[in-house]
Symmetry: C2
Subunit: 199 residues, 2 copies
DNA sequence: ACAAAAACGGTACGCTCGTCCCACTTTAGT
DNA sequence: ACTAAAGTGGGACGAGCGTACCGTTTTTGT
């Protein structure tokens, strides 16, 4: 029942337990990408992680907590991945190309991205997810900021928001309806936004 | 079981049946707004519509079909509402004010909007919903186009996409995380986008 | 060594879900 | 008037769900 693992701990948690808990979150993340929010069930997660069913209730007091944890991990990982591909390719080509690289990287991981947006949207209904959703937005804005700074653009908070929001919209539309030529048009729009900022 | 109501109909459907089917869709729309995608169950819909459970299976071959129908209705209604508030207020103030009016109207119907986006996102996984999702985007673009034309802006397909996508992103962010001052910042960004277009 | 706490895992409860079955009533074409 | 189709609705089935129970094993502080 109520797992004493994460509540009032009078002893330090064991190492294997931490690994198992991590494995559960990992399985939840995978399942979220494969089948969306509804696919993340206790049984599916347990089976995917190779761990008995009861363990999921032991490590997480509820399914919501497990989902929230998966959301947080997914956001963190997403931001890290974005930062990584950003530092790698900096200075190679134009910002537009970089944006396309980012968008392309996302398209290769469609299921995971859909799951992430799904959880983001869920945050609109469940206050417990709000903070994570905001941290995603904030992190993304930070990335856009450093990107603009590095390229020598003027970037107050307003400019950053402008570009970040546009790319988010672009990216979501690209993800849901993948129409032919969307990528090119996306690049075109980013270019237009950059012109608007530099002016 | 398999309802012969919508398949090979050798007789014309009865009027009461049509009303009931409509009532079911209406209930589904409401429930979607209240509790999101997962709240639209056969039982909940039937109860809300004041109709026995079995009827939901009679009129719709599956839950997915019911949800898809609700999605279509929601999109159509949403576009109509937007067009309406658009013709009403045209010429009153600036485009920025108009955008704020639109965004404000949406905020007043938060649950419904969240449900709509939820279904839009779901379209990324279920091909049956793709067409509806695209018709939403297309309809929205049309609205932005007439809006721009009326205000005397140059509006090729590129300009329309630019503004429409930006506002979509704005709008979603406003909906999920409602941070203080978001509305003002949204107006600011729309103004910037319009400057970018007119230039 | 020994208790206490943590970890473990098989199992079961209670519930809700989508869907189906089937007997019944109403409607409409002839 | 008759008959076949359409409509109706109570009930049930099987599956999957979140979660709790509880005896067992392992770890840990003393």
């Amino acid at each position: 029942m109520t797992g004493p693992a994460q509540s009032g701990s009078r002893r330090k948690p064991q190492e294997r337990a931490l690994r198992r808990k991590e494995a559960l979150v990992e399985a939840a993340v995978t399942l979220l990408g494969e089948g969306g929010f509804t696919a993340v069930t206790h049984r599916a997660v347990a089976e995917r992680a190779g761990i008995p069913l009861a363990a999921t209730s032991y490590y997480f007091t509820s399914r919501d907590e497990l989902v929230a944890r998966a959301f947080a991990v997914l956001v963190e990982r997403d931001l890290r991945l974005m930062r990584a591909s950003l530092t790698e390719e900096a200075g190679i080509g134009s910002l537009v190309e970089l944006a396309q690289t980012l968008l392309h990287a996302y398209a290769s991981d469609r299921g995971r991205q859909l799951g992430l947006w799904e959880l983001y949207l869920q945050a609109g209904r469940e206050p417990e997810l709000q903070d994570i959703a905001r941290s995603w937005t904030d992190g993304w804005h930070d990335i856009v900021r450093t990107l603009l700074e590095r390229a020598g653009y003027a970037c107050g908070a307003s400019e950053v928001r402008f570009l970040a929001t546009l790319v988010s919209g672009l990216w979501l539309e690209l993800l849901v309806e993948d129409r032919p030529g969307s990528l090119d048009r996306a690049g075109e729009m980013v270019a237009r936004a950059l012109r608007a900022i530099s002016a």
